[in-house]
């Protein structure tokens, strides 16, 4: 129905933009990861596998990657647990207040990520709100020091930040479940609990997968919360990349790590999309 000119006008500009600002940069990242840098800080444009060799042989890289994945997995687990139960409550039990509660979940997203992470720092710090509160009510004599500058602080903060993100797709998939399917299940003798396990949960799998991917991928790539709250034991893979692009000045090695992260993330997205397709019935 649309003319050739119309189709050209809507297609060519975005295609060009995407080619210049997405495709070319990714290709550059790929190239950089096979280049190297000499002691004088000059980038040598000859192809080499040095960076990948270093990644595989120096344990600090893959250990940090594993730790990042472990932190991301915990964030994913907790934000899915909180997000799913909240979404289930809203979708099936909140009645007329549903929309209000929904807005209440969204509103924290409008407060700067940095500022919220920073607020957790003021809560968890040695002289922070929590420690002074605990001492004020005489629960503890001395400040608890494991709260801040630890993987715990990172997991807590990232869970706080990504719970609304996980909630959104789960809530959408729960809202998409036709209510007469729930009625049909009750009609066929299933109690609310049986209906939850056999109808509601299987039908919300696409949302759960999307939420899980969001939480895992975004927290895996995070470098601000670890810098702010993580301390030495809370360092994540992106922090290494940041330092390689900054003070350490080894862009090629940084590009190689980024590319590995990108590959990991793309594999995850691909995998979760496959599963989502299998479980989507709309």
């Amino acid at each position: 129905m649309f003319s050739r000119a119309y189709r050209t006008v809507i297609t060519v500009p975005p295609l060009l933009w995407v080619a210049i600002f997405l495709l070319v940069p990714y290709a550059l990242m790929f190239c950089y990861s096979f280049w190297s840098v000499n002691d004088a800080g000059t980038i040598l444009h000859s192809w080499t596998m040095t960076n990948y060799h270093e990644l595989l042989t120096k344990p600090v890289y893959w250990q940090t990657l594993l730790r990042s994945m472990w932190i991301a997995a915990r964030v994913m687990f907790f934000s899915m647990l909180l997000g799913f139960l909240l979404a289930y409550f809203l979708s099936f039990h909140a009645g007329a207040r549903k929309d209000l509660y929904y807005q209440l979940v969204i509103i924290p997203l409008w407060v700067s990520y940095l500022v919220r992470a920073y607020a957790w720092k003021t809560i968890l710090g040695t002289d922070g709100v929590l420690n002074t509160l605990l001492q004020y009510v005489h629960v503890t004599k001395h400040p608890l020091d494991f709260l801040l500058y630890s993987p715990f602080a990172v997991v807590l903060t990232l869970t706080h930040i990504y719970t609304p993100f996980t909630f959104l797709p789960i809530y959408a998939s729960l809202e998409h479940i036709p209510r007469h399917l729930v009625e049909a299940s009750h009609d066929l003798g299933a109690t609310p609990a049986q209906t939850f396990w056999r109808v509601i949960l299987p039908l919300s799998i696409p949302g759960l997968l999307a939420g899980a991917t969001f939480a895992f991928v975004l927290s895996l790539g995070d470098f601000l919360a670890p810098l702010l709250l993580g301390g030495p034991s809370g360092i994540m893979i992106s922090n290494i990349v940041v330092s390689l692009f900054g003070a350490a000045y080894n862009w090629p090695l940084g590009a190689a790590i980024s590319l590995c992260m990108l590959a990991l993330v793309l594999a995850l997205i691909f995998f979760s999309e496959r599963l989502e397709k299998k479980w989507s019935f709309q």
Binding site: M1, F2, Y6, R7, V9, I10, T11, P13, P14, L15, V18, F21, L22, L23, V24, L28, M29, L85, L86, Y88, F89, L90, F92, H93, D99, Y101, Q103, L104, V105, I106, I107, P108, W110, V111, S112, L114, R116, Y118, W120, T122, I123, G128, V129, T132, Y136, H160, T163, P164, V217, G221, L224, V241, V242, F245, W251, G254, S258, M261, L262, I269
Partner: protein, 272 residues
């Protein structure tokens, strides 16, 4: 559906407490005379706001952020809406790849988008400045404009456009008089979302920053230096602005939804 389990209600209450605790702390301690931390808050004061209003660096960064957000919004809409149209109604080689590429920044950690663009600007000898941040935000947020506009297009009845063409309107006229009005809500929603996401963006800006700071980067710099209660003050102000924007947007949206619901009901009654 009657009577939800108590533990589910309690859980919801706890999640809301978890989500709002830092925000409450933030607002509370922006009035705390003792600076950040310490319980209970004491010596309530407006001092931090006074300091904030005399802090030129912060206000410069706010202006920079507003400029970046507005420009990024313009770029993202300018390219994102045609991208949605192209995905909806044109076929070209590489369409599947194009779709993935456009939407990728939505799910990718910001560090990857930021670094890859940094390499582009390095190789092409572009000096880092607010412009590079604008280009970065625009690129990352095209995905938002495209998803929102695409969702709007899915709801649009294609017959409306066909009717317009049939009645003698050109493609251009049809686009402005039928397509855009139908996408109005999606576009406004996308614009607001892009604006706020850009205002808060830091992972991409982190790598593309030149001499001038955006607000999040200014905040970041101060946070790295130490505890600074005026950050609480500016965050409280931004939160209040955002809240006002949400309420406004929500009003707008619900009115549209109510109207469409009434229309749907009318159609239903007429049909049966």
């Amino acid at each position: 559906m009657n009577g939800s389990p108590l533990w589910l209600k309690a859980h919801a209450l706890l999640v809301f407490a978890f989500l709002y605790l830092p925000i409450a702390i933030l607002i509370l301690y922006s009035f705390n005379g003792q600076g950040v931390g310490g319980f209970p808050p004491r010596d309530l004061t407006l001092n931090w706001y006074r300091i904030l209003f005399n802090d030129a660096a912060i206000w410069d960064s706010v202006l920079n952020s507003l400029l970046v957000a507005a420009s990024a919004m313009f770029i993202a809409l300018l390219f994102g809406i045609p991208a949605a149209l192209a995905l909806d109604r044109a076929n070209f080689p590489g369409k599947a790849l194009f779709r993935r590429l456009v939407l990728l920044p939505l799910i990718l950690p910001g560090i990857i988008t930021g670094l890859s663009l940094l390499m582009l600007f390095r190789v092409s000898n572009v000096k880092l400045s607010l412009l590079t941040i604008i280009l970065g935000h625009g690129t990352a947020l095209i995905s938002v404009a495209t998803t929102e506009a695409f969702a709007g297009l899915q709801k649009l009845n294609r017959a409306q456009e066909e009717a317009s063409l049939d009645l003698g309107a050109t493609y251009w006229q049809t686009f402005w008089r039928i397509t855009v009005p139908n996408l109005k809500l999606s576009i406004i929603g996308a614009a607001l979302l892009i604006f706020t996401l850009s205002m808060d963006e830091i992972a991409v800006s982190f790598f593309l920053i030149g001499r001038d700071n955006t607000l999040p980067l200014e905040i970041w710099g101060r946070l790295r230096r130490g505890i600074t209660p005026e950050i609480n003050a500016i965050s409280t102000i931004i939160f209040m602005f955002s809240l006002a924007a949400i309420v406004l947007w929500y009003r707008l949206r619900t009115r549209a939804e109510v109207t469409s619901e009434i229309a749907a009901e009318l159609v239903e009654t007429a049909g049966s």
